[in-house]
Amino acid sequence: MEETRRTITHYERELQEIKQNLLYLGALTEKAIENVTASLLERKSDVARQVIEGDAEIDRLDTDIEEQCIRLLALRQPIARDLRFITTAIKINGHLERIGDMAVNIAEKVLLLNEVPQLKPYIDLPRMAVIAREMIRGSLDAFVREDCELANRIRRMDAEIDTLNEQIFRELLTFMLEDARTIHRALLIMQVSKNMERIADHAKGMADMVVYMVTGINVRHQWPGDATQDVCANKRQDS
């Protein structure tokens, strides 16, 4: 009796550890986005380079978490809720790692942008960054608290990012049409915007997985509109 109780506690501690590690990884990616945005706005190339170097830590943690999850799957053979938790953790881990890579992509573009005069003041890009970070944080919050409603809210935030991305695209298009010399810079900024949009997509993917974890329903390819409003209503009761 005593023996089994200790094993359960140990097992739960392992699950807890995965949670904490994912939060840490999330904080790392958030920081990367914050830094890369700052490096863009303040034209600080050294900060951008820090972001590129910092990706190694993200990659290492990604590998660690994945190993942790696979070991848990192999040794404990979890079922039901725990199984969904671990598969979700693996997926979220992958998304976070990709977000780190996107931050690196942006940093590389920022390095190029910092070598040429600024095309225009950045207004929508920092807004995208703020929303993207909020989505990452929100998804992880929802994951840790198993909060389906929050996850659903995060999924809907993706639309804002898409709107901003399109807005930037149109704006840059007018720049390019007016003056061919702006094309190089405009394209770089577009790539920054595109990567930011991809980051938000990954954050949404994380939120999708949280909905799956809590309800057992796969919403990855559904538009988070009214149809899935009540997706959280049928929470799985198995444990």
């Binding site: 904490q20 939060l23 840490y24 904080a27 703020v130 944080r137 919050d141």
Partner: protein, 585 residues
């Protein structure tokens, strides 16, 4: 519950009564019985001895007589045990009597007796037997028997007395037990209720028991203990309240982590520092609550080393809050093992001041270096031969003079500001008429404005009260503000100087322009030294970056204040509040 003690006492009394009466009954009963039996035996013996059985042939009538007189049953048997005479007709048929114990005893000892249950008569009987001799020759035995009913009756009577006394004892012991237990339990119940109230945390007062025996002493001791206990509780509560007050009213945020690293307690200071942003963070890990990498890394380092450490962290989006977080183990508190205390000290303001100081030094250096470089460059050129060319030399010298002037202005401004900060500017306050001073400054600024095509309007109403100010400083302030207004208003714009009496015994002078304006978020920083909204433009216009800072200082030192409203692209309004003159004080 209520009568338990009563029953204990009662049962004890009862047991004692039962035991003593039982012993008396058994001992006395057997004694009485033995004595009665002996007596009967002796009586029977003497009857038996009376019998003269000669001749044997006439024995039956004699026996009958004895039986009648003595009220006994008489049996005579011969040597072989054959019954010769028998007074009880029901017992005639019996066989040999020789085996009976009393006969046996009589044969051996000369007389015998026995008490036993007679199966023939179904009753306890006492038997005595004597041998009958003819000369030396044994011819038979005579046996007398009497039922023991008499003895039984006596014993029963005795038992009845015993039973009666037992009943009397029973009743009296119930009464005694009741009285005694009540006397005993009343104070005990009082004490029990008293301590119960104490246990529930009420203030029970003093226990009143008038008794000088052990119970009285006990009550006294309880009173003493309660008083002592309450004193201690009060002292502890006071101590606890002090600690809690310190914990909750500390401006610093205090967060306590439990042994699993989860947030256990958060003080009010911390809640105030965090605001709404983080919600309820108890039960979460710091990583979960704050998502702060620096904090997490510091916690990891602390867990690895166990050594207290200090970490600076930045929390939240713009505007950031900067905290010095002290991480230390909880020591010296029972139940505190393995817990961690985080103390968040808000250093946002300090950080800002620090940055301002660093900026100031950098700014001063920069401001001085620019004209100095120019001067040195021109001087060098002159030295290298340009001085020979009079035309060029004159041009260079005028440039050098302009830069030197700029340097001078900067140094003067710096001196003014440093004096103002040190409180070393001496003001000579007097009653100043607003309209007079407005006219004089407008006359000065008019020229400059005309050159840029800017209209200057004046809206000074009649009958404004005079203000209390230093005339020169007031002129300086107004000129500075008007100069700024003209500088930052594009050609064709307008600048208006107006004045009105404000509430609170003040007169406000307003300088409104239709200039470029200032972004809302920058307004607060306008009074900072060297703070420029548009750095290059301001310097082009010949500003030192200290103007508004000086104005702010001078206004404050004169007991007034400066307020700025602005809208980007629409213009700026600077309001200068001066106190109304209330006579020389």
């Amino acid at each position: 519950m209520k009568g338990r003690l009563f029953f204990k006492i009662f049962a004890t009394y009862l047991a004692i009564a039962v035991l003593s009466i039982g012993i008396v009954g058994i001992l006395a009963g057997s004694q009485i019985r033995a004595k009665l039996e002996k007596q009967i035996e002796r009586e029977l013996m003497s009857y038996a001895g009376l019998v003269d059985l000669h001749p044997m042939q006439e024995i039956q009538p004699r026996v009958e007589e004895i039986a009648r007189v003595a009220g006994v049953r008489v049996t005579v048997i011969d040597r072989e045990g054959k019954v010769i005479a028998e007074t009880d007709p029901e017992a005639v048929t019996l066989g040999s009597h020789l085996e009976r114990p009393e006969i046996q005893e009589a044969r051996v000892r000369g007389k015998g007796s026995s008490t036993r249950y007679s199966r023939t008569l179904h009753e306890d009987m006492i038997y005595v037997a004597l041998p009958i001799r003819k000369g030396p020759e044994l011819v038979g035995y005579i046996r007398l028997a009497r039922p023991l009913g008499e003895v039984r009756k006596t014993i029963e009577a005795f038992s009845e007395i015993l039973l009666q006394s037992f009943l009397i004892i029973l009743v009296s012991s119930v009464a005694v037990a009741f009285l005694f237990s009540r006397k005993l339990t009343t104070p005990i119940r009082d004490m029990e209720q008293f301590t119960e109230r104490l246990r529930r945390g009420e203030t029970p007062g003093t226990l009143l028991i008038r008794s000088s025996d052990e119970i009285g002493l006990l009550a006294e001791n309880i009173n003493y203990l309660v008083a002592e206990l309450q004193q201690r509780i009060a002292a502890l509560q006071e101590e606890k309240a002090k600690v809690e007050a310190a914990f909750s009213s500390a401006m610093d945020g205090v967060v306590l982590l439990d042994i699993d690293g989860k947030i256990e307690t958060v003080n009010r200071g911390m809640r105030d520092l965090m605001g709404e942003r983080y919600g309820d963070i108890t039960g979460k890990t710091p990583l979960e609550a704050f998502r702060n990498l620096d904090l997490q890394k510091a916690l990891d380092r602390f867990r690895a080393s166990g050594q207290p450490l200090l970490q600076e962290i930045v929390l939240g989006e713009e505007p950031h809050a900067v905290f010095d977080v002290a991480i230390s183990p909880v020591r010296g508190v029972s139940g505190g093992e393995g817990k961690t205390m985080l103390v968040f000290h808000d250093v946002t303001r300090l950080k800002k001041l620090e940055r301002m100081r660093v900026d100031f030094v950098a700014n001063v250096t920069h401001e001085i270096k620019t004209p100095l470089t120019a001067i040195l460059g021109y001087v060098e050129t002159l030295q290298e031969g340009a001085i020979e060319d009079r035309e060029t030399a004159r041009k260079f010298l005028s440039t050098i003079a302009r830069h030197a002037e700029r340097l001078n202005r900067l140094v003067e401004d710096l001196l003014t500001i440093s004096n103002a900060e040190l409180g070393e500017i001496h003001f000579s306050f007097e009653s100043v008429a607003v309209s007079g001073i407005a006219q004089s400054v407008l006359a000065v600024i008019q020229q400059k404005a005309a050159g840029k095509g800017i209209r200057i309007a004046s809206e000074i109403p009649e009958g404004l009260p005079p203000v209390r100010a230093d005339r020169d400083r007031m002129t300086q302030v107004l000129l500075n503000i008007l100069d700024n207004a003209v500088k930052f208003t594009p050609e064709g714009g307008g600048v208006t100087l107006s004045a009105e009496a404000a509430s609170g015994g003040e007169v406000v002078l307003r300088v409104a322009d239709t200039g470029i304006g200032v972004p809302r978020e920058e307004i607060g920083r306008l009074g900072e030294r060297f703070y420029r909204v548009d750095k290059t433009r301001s310097r082009e216009l010949g500003g030192t970056g200290l103007g508004l800072s000086i104005v702010k200082h001078l206004m404050n030192a004169q007991g007034g204040r400066m307020e700025i409203e602005s809208r980007l692209g629409r213009g700026t309004t600077v309001s200068l509040y001066f106190p109304v003159w209330r006579g020389a004080a």
